[in-house]
Amino acid sequence: MSARTINFTLNGEAVSTTIEPHRNMIELLQRFDLFGARESCGQGLCGCCTVLVDGMAVSGCLYFAVWADGKAVSTVEYLDAGGALSNVQQAFIDCGAFQCGFCTPGFVLMTHQLLKDHPDPSDEDIRHYLAGNLCRCGTYPEIVAAVKRAAKAAA
């Protein structure tokens, strides 16, 4: 399949690459040595591959790389670009909201999306937004606590 040149913004920086149409966002990001978004289930169900496209969380494993053309893509690596952790990242640490850490970037990004839409989320909001992120280590109680802590810190 013939490759296409795409231009997009990656973590605030204008970039360009040539990529075949069957490759997904995860493969695209790996070209830029970004590994925080991870393909796991390959079906958009686990959320390990979550990235933000124009500010909206998407499953990188189901998002074709060529769709990024002209868009702004943000990954977990962007959150501490200034050197400091985001409120959400700090809250995940404070609440012990992960074990193996493989799903954590996805949860962190989805929590950013949640708090953007609902700065003071209810338990129902939290469950609704994070329903598409799975954690096999089972740290859900700590994740709920972390989301609430992050919301409080931002308020």
């Binding site: 069957h22 490759r23 790996q30 970004l34 590994f35 925080g36 978004a37 991870r38 796991s40 289930c41 390959g42 079906q43 169900l45 686990c46 390990c48 990954t75 977990v76 690596e77 959150l79 501490d80 952790l85 990242q89 995940f92 640490i93 404070d94 012990g96 992960f98 074990q99 193996c100 850490g101 493989f102 799903c103 954590t104 970037p105 962190v108 939290i126 469950r127 994070l130 329903a131 992120n133 799975l134 954690c135 096999r136 280590c137 089972g138 740290t139 859900y140 109680p141 700590e142 994740i143 709920v144």
Partner: protein, 755 residues
């Protein structure tokens, strides 16, 4: 400052929340080829031919490799921790659907994947056997002859045995079971079953082999790098020092990434093509790698008039799948606890590891114990109900106390069975009235408690290095897959050396650097490696004192380490290397009776209490409360310990209520997260956890393992609560709404139409 008991975040937290933590998944090497696996579509059959021509001709394909290519490199290409029964790629025969038959290598994984579709294989199909009890009959043989590895002395006698699917039969005899049963006032018998399910770590299996000159480096997501090194060296006929195994953080393990998985395959491929080879499985492929045993457990108890258990007979059938993996050890080393945490004078256990034509089964968070607790705690509850005794009172009457001998002959020490049980009962408020619901929504409560022995004997070796500026580095073969081992060891070393855990640097799992460790499994690490680490730190401390004496410093003075080095070497130079190994005492059990005075260095105890609400119209079970109490001794890092308990309980919740691999003709029909339902954030009930006050006196600073204990009681506590709520008994996992509805309708004399 005291380090033990400090509630600190894991040392690697920043790397994990920023997505920069190092996983094997991230690694790419120059010139690396990607391998994609062509798998068997039949459950059992003789290989007549494999046509790789079209695949090899696809542009971009480097090479296609079959089992015969590997046999040219390694004449006996069979691997495994307990048995050398698993071919690196199928040879002569396939034994389960999904078994690796060939591999396509290409620089682009998509090309390799496309080429796999162009391979075809011809099989002479053979009848297959899937059920563990059916496979006890030698009608269909999965293997012609047993091939035990030399690794475990107590499996050697099986060598050359043929005409059977029983890979291992384990027996325990204590007292006179038949006579006691005959004299009992009540004899009660049940059969319970568990389903095949799997680990499903979110970092699917991934391994990379980088070939050298008669040497190899493996980068792999694996829980037992020392074993990988030994096994790869054995396959190639090399000394251990030609194999280097590096493991970064693991994206989940749970027992799945134990021993050897993709490593032998990538190693062989890399040696054949002389280029680095990476194989990364998809989520679907994980269903064909390793699973949790399905089991059938026949349990029979004799009870006296006074409600005392006088005899218990256990027959456990473990569905091991097509290759043994660590299954024989599960059948044996957990099998011996099959009678539960009860004081019963007359016990017999017969535990069988059985080959079938399914995906192999190994260890999954509990090493078989959750399957056992499911049966014995469901059974115990049923006995109490049948005898009209309160289930809590019945258990209290029979619980094994510290200082009493377990059925294995080993006297129980530091097993807080009573404390854990009391904690669950108290938190649940067993004696207090509660809302039993009404109409179609009925509520009930249940409890359960389990006991596990850590696998023994196993060895851990540790190194503690003090640099000339006084900074400290520790070297460990333990794999940190989220359990917080790096942090726990830093706390232990910090405690001994009087420094903060945050100042300790942890180097983990690189066999060129880190010393031997048996494996990160079965909740053994904190105890074994923790003890080794404590001893290594003490060794470093005494060497530092010796160095001070050499430097002419007066004894008993408290110079900072950096000054001791400077004084001794004249500048910032030198090292102190503290080392230690730890292997607990152990007495091998008698081969006939399983009796041993010292069968395990420590016991784990976990109990659960639940309150459920059952919808009698749909069978849907809602968990209203889930309480878990465990004995982890004196916790090193209590916050991490608590998340281990709740995480284990949540995982077991999935195995209890929803997770099951469905088979059709040996094919897994739900091999994806879409169809295999694991717990999500919406499935988590209100939970409470308790680490009971306890101490493991032989453990490092009183601590012991914790990773599995939260799983033990969950499944039977739920079944017991459902019985309490609606009067029906579920005998088989998982407890789906459909299973409950079927039981309710059968109980009401109106079975569903298809029954």
């Amino acid at each position: 400052m005291n380090q033990i008991g400090r509630d600190i975040p894991r040392l690697e937290v920043r790397a994990k929340v920023t997505g920069r933590a190092d996983y094997t998944h991230n690694l790419r090497l120059p010139g690396m080829l990607y391998g994609k696996v062509f798998r068997s579509t039949v459950p059992h059959g003789r290989i007549l031919g494999i046509d790789t021509e079209a695949a090899s001709a696809l542009p971009g394909v480097h090479r296609v490799i079959t089992g015969e290519d590997i046999r040219k490199l390694i004449p006996e290409p069979y691997y495994g921790p307990a048995f050398h029964d698993q071919p690196i790629l199928a040879l002569d025969k396939v034994r389960h659907v999904g078994e690796p038959v060939a591999v396509v290598l290409a620089s682009d994984p998509h090309v390799a994947e496309q080429a796999v579709q162009l391979i075809s294989a011809d099989y002479e199909e053979m009848p297959a056997v899937y059920d563990e009890v059916a496979a006890m009959a030698p009608d269909i043989l999965v293997h012609d002859v047993l091939r035990p590895a030399g690794t475990f002395a107590d499996l050697k006698h099986l060598k050359g045995r043929g005409g059977t699917n029983v890979a291992l039969d384990y027996h325990l005899r204590c007292g006179a079971v038949d006579a006691a049963m005959a004299g009992a006032d009540h004899v009660i018998e049940h059969t319970f079953k568990t389903q095949q399910c799997l680990h499903l770590a979110f970092e699917p299996f991934v391994s990379i082999a980088d070939p050298g000159d008669n040497a190899l480096t493996l980068y792999t997501a694996n829980q037992s790098p020392s074993f990988v090194r030994i096994e790869i060296a054995r396959l190639f006929g090399w000394p251990e020092n030609r194999v280097r195994v590096k493991v970064p953080y693991l994206g989940g393990g749970f027992g799945g990434k134990l021993y050897i998985k993709l490593e032998a395959l990538v190693a062989a491929l890399a040696m054949i093509v002389r280029r680095p080879v990476k194989i990364a499985l998809t989520m679907e492929e994980q269903f064909y790698m390793i699973t949790k045993h399905a089991t059938t457990f026949r349990i029979k108890s004799g009870v006296g008039k006074d409600g005392h258990l006088v005899a218990r007979k256990c027959e456990v059938y473990w569905n091991g799948g097509a290759y043994a993996d660590i299954g024989p050890r599960v059948a044996q080393k957990s099998g011996f606890t099959a009678a539960g945490p009860y004081d019963i004078d007359n016990v017999s256990v017969d535990s069988y590891e059985i080959y079938t034509n399914r995906t192999p089964a190994g260890a999954l968070r509990g090493f078989g114990v959750p399957q056992l607790v499911w049966a014995y705690e469901s059974h115990t509850d049923l006995i109490a109900r049948q005898l009209g005794i309160d289930p809590v009172e019945f258990r209290r009457k029979n619980l094994l106390r510290d200082g009493r001998p377990h059925a294995s002959g080993t006297v129980l020490h530091d097993a807080a069975i009573t404390e854990v049980f009391d904690a669950v009962v108290a938190r649940l408020g067993w004696d207090k009235p509660f809302d039993r619901g009404s109409g179609t929504l009925r509520r009930g409560r249940g409890i359960a408690i389990g006991l596990k022995a850590v696998i023994s004997p196993t060895t851990s070796v540790a190194i503690v290095n003090i640099s000339a500026d006084g900074s400290t580095t520790l070297y460990t073969g333990t794999v940190d897959m989220g359990q917080g081992s790096d942090t726990a060891y830093a706390l232990i070393v910090g405690e001994v050396l009087g420094i903060g855990a945050e100042e300790v640097r942890v180097v983990h799992s690189d066999t060129d650097v880190t010393p031997y460790d048996m494996g990160t499994l079965g909740s053994r690490s904190l105890y074994h490696m923790g003890n080794a680490m404590r001893l290594a730190a003490e060794d470093a401390r005494s060497k530092l004192r010796a160095l001070a004496t050499e430097a002419g410093l007066p004894e008993g003075t408290n110079y900072p380490p950096s000054e001791v080095f400077k004084k001794r070497y004249g500048m910032q130079a030198g090292n102190i290397i503290g080392t230690a190994s730890f292997v607990p005492t152990y007495t091998p059990p008698d081969p006939q009776t399983g009796q041993s005075g010292d069968v395990t260095p420590f016991w784990m105890v976990g109990g659960s209490g639940v309150e459920v609400e059952v919808d009698t119209e749909t069978g849907k079970v809602r968990i209203l409360r889930l309480i878990n109490a465990v004995d982890c001794g004196n916790p090193i890092n209590p916050g991490v310990a608590r998340t281990q308990v709740s995480g284990a309980a949540i995982m077991q919740l999935g195995f209890t209520l929803s997770e099951a691999m469905h088979l059709d003709g040996g094919q897994v029909t739900n091999a994806s997260l879409a169809d295999y339902k694991i717990p999500g954030i919406g499935d988590i009930p209100p939970m409470e956890g308790e680490l009971v006050a306890a101490s493991q006196h032989s453990g490092p600073f009183g601590a012991k393992g914790i990773g599995e204990s939260g799983t033990f009681g969950v499944s039977p506590a739920i079944a017991n609560a459902i019985h309490d709520a609606v009067g029906v008994r579920i005998m088989e996992l998982p407890i789906t709404a459909e299973a409950v509805l079927r039981a309710l309708r059968a109980e009401a004399g109106r079975p569903l139409d298809d029954e």
